[in-house]
């Protein structure tokens, strides 16, 4: 298949369908709504299930039910909606059934706005729901990458019987880009052995997140964390750009990483040896790779569209080996490449080395930028 000009959310939905999604349950919310609208049209055409639920609470519990049948099911939402889903996400994790959740993130907290943001990093990457569980979190940076990673999300969810979050921001949901969709996959004929399908000629299956005896829950927690350690071993994914000879590394995910790559190209033209490290799996996080980078570059600049949530994770890995600086736009603001270029220059010149907290330094500079902009 050749590349076509595809709309973000619609392409993601079609990618899910081609990956074998048999049930979509959702509730409209900008900037993810086109995902649901596309599913409303396409799923019935294919004889697959589409339900517009009464709320995100209901939607995720429908996903939970669908997931228990062993079919590939999913939902797509945006930040406030995903907050409502956290109860169900925790139950899905505790029941060890596979599910894919796409979060097209927007500015917050609260009702916030509908502009692109990465402010759900903590909620998505660290779990978000109650209890001891580990979601896989994929953060693609283009329409094509999102298409590819939504397919992968279903495979990983099935392989590990684990939640997989695909997080993009409103930019990617709304943009049009040339991309190629994979061929339609055939649906599996038989359900997995653990699924509830009616106990025909076999012992009944029972799926639950209840372990009333703490000793049993502890055994479950051990199973979950061991599975997670296996995932950490096998499933780290990232992208590197001009990193071979880099003296300075920019680390950013999703749109922030993508905008940074334009800035990096411009900086290279000025002779600054800078490269981009873009984590694609935010969980499991590419810790070893970042540790290696911190041993060979002079300084690191973390760029995000939030107040420095990943910054803390990077700093914990770098452990002060080299300075880690921060640049971030907040509240639904998308950075411009020249803003990041300025920061790269500043970090490379090292005229104003950070003394103390990278976040605090950046926020005080950002306040001035915001002030001037007004």
């Amino acid at each position: 298949m050749a590349k076509e000009l595809l709309k973000g959310n619609e392409a993601f939905a079609e990618a899910a369908i081609r990956a074998g999604c048999e049930g979509f349950y959702g509730y409209p919310i900008t900037p993810s709504t086109e995902f649901l609208e596309y599913m409303a049209k396409r799923m019935p055409q294919l004889g697959r299930a589409f339900v517009q639920a009464e709320s995100e609470v209901a939607a995720i519990n429908m996903v939970y039910g669908g997931a228990c049948t062993g079919k590939r099911v999913m939902t797509a939402s945006s930040s406030p909606g995903v907050s409502l889903m956290m109860e169900g996400i925790s139950y899905i994790a505790g029941t060890e059934v596979p599910a894919v959740i796409v979060n097209v993130m927007r500015g917050g907290p609260g009702l916030g706005n509908i502009a692109p943001s990465q402010g759900d990093y903590h909620q998505m990457v660290k779990g978000g729901g109650h209890g001891d569980y580990f979601p896989i979190v994929l953060a693609p940076a283009s329409v094509q990458e999102a298409i590819d990673y939504i397919s992968l999300a279903f495979d990983l969810a099935d392989k590990y019987r684990n939640i997989v979050h695909v997080i993009v921001d409103g930019n990617m949901g709304q943009m049009m880009e040339p991309a190629e969709l994979p061929p339609m996959r055939e649906l599996p004929k038989d359900p997995p052995s653990w699924a509830v399908t009616g106990a025909e000629g076999r012992q009944p299956n029972f799926l639950s997140s209840i372990y009333i005896d703490p000793a049993d829950e502890e055994v479950t927690n051990i199973r979950l964390v061991k599975r997670w350690m296996e995932i950490e071993k096998n499933e780290i994914r990232y992208s590197e750009y001009l990193m071979e000879d880099a003296e300075f590394a920019v680390i950013g995910f999703g749109t922030a990483g993508r905008v940074a790559s334009s800035a990096i190209r411009a900086a290279r033209e000025e002779g600054v040896k800078v490269g981009l490290f873009r984590p694609i799996t935010l969980a499991p996080f590419p810790k070893k790779q970042i540790e290696e980078i911190s041993k060979r570059v002079k300084r690191i600049l973390v760029v995000e569209m939030n107040t420095g949530m990943m910054l803390d994770d990077v700093a914990a890995i770098v452990q002060g080996r080299v300075p880690v600086e921060f640049y971030g736009r907040l509240g639904g603001m998308t950075p411009f490449p020249d803003e990041i270029l300025d920061e790269i220059r500043r970090v490379a010149d090292n005229k104003a080395p950070i003394n103390g907290d990278a976040r605090a330094e950046w926020i005080s500079r950002l306040e001035k930028i915001v002030e001037e902009g007004r």
Partner: protein, 260 residues
């Protein structure tokens, strides 16, 4: 259970195949167990055990899955109708039922039950109305009677402050998507037999694709009502039925001629 082999003995009563051989955790005098048995008998009689998936609630019947010999899932508190919807939509040929208490269904799960009915979701709901939050130790439920003492209405339910009991069957019967909505009681043998027929009708409704079905069963909670089991049954008959009248609130015309 092993069937007797002597030719002169005839089995007149046995454990339904849809029931496991497990002692339940229910309190003495609790009618949750009676409701379970009725559901199991109906599923046996209709030959549906191997295509049925049950959805357990959060409440005293959280362990319902242990007592039913069939595929089961355990929902989050109040979300059973959503979970059942998720299952039914990808497995439309299977028989799906939820089993929910009044806290689960009429309080935290109000949105899920209303919308499942509004969508005409082809599932059956067994609704155990015991006018109380049993599992958490006897707090006020949306179905608690006016004046009734609970741990969270210690001076008796004051309708000025806490409002009035919610009549779910009446409300759900207004939904065009509902095929069969009735209220029955478990307080004596006659009413138990009527309850069983209603459960049969609910599953028949689902099997015929006639939309959402629910059987509300007035049920006892001697432990949290703080009365003896026989007193509890009397309380259902004398105090609950006047507030929650028994009856058929919605029966699709297609079901009218059906005799079970």
């Amino acid at each position: 259970m092993v069937a007797p082999t002597t030719p002169e003995t005839k089995v007149v009563f046995k454990r339904p195949e849809s029931f496991t051989d497990v002692t339940t955790h229910y309190c003495p005098g609790c009618t949750h167990g009676v409701a379970h048995r009725l559901v199991a008998e109906v599923i046996d009689e209709m030959g549906l055990r191997e295509k049925t998936i049950g959805v357990a609630p959060v409440g005293c019947s959280v362990f319902a899955y242990k007592y039913f010999n069939m595929d089961f899932v355990e929902a989050a508190h109040g979300r059973a109708p959503a979970m059942a919807t998720g299952i039914k939509r990808v497995l439309p040929q299977k028989t799906i039922f939820t089993y929910q208490g009044d806290g689960d269904l009429a309080s935290i799960g109000m949105a899920e039950i209303m919308h499942a009915a509004a969508r005409g979701e082809n599932i059956s709901v067994i609704f155990i109305n015991n006018a109380i939050f049993g599992m958490t130790g006897g707090q006020m439920a949306p179905t608690t009677l006016p004046g009734m003492k609970t741990t969270s209405s210690p001076f008796g339910r004051d309708v000025e402050l806490t409002g009035f009991p919610i009549r779910m069957s009446e409300m759900l019967a207004t939904m065009d998507g509902a095929g069969y909505i009735v209220r029955r009681s478990l307080h004596d043998a006659k009413h138990i037999r009527q309850s069983k027929k209603a459960i049969r009708m609910a599953i028949e409704t689902q099997e015929r694709g006639l939309g959402f079905s629910m059987v509300e069963l007035l049920s006892s909670c001697p432990t949290n009502w703080k009365v003896a089991p026989d007193e509890a049954l009397k309380f259902i008959a004398e105090s609950m039925i006047p507030v929650f009248p028994l009856g058929d609130y919605k029966v699709r015309p297609e079901l009218a001629g059906l005799r079970v």
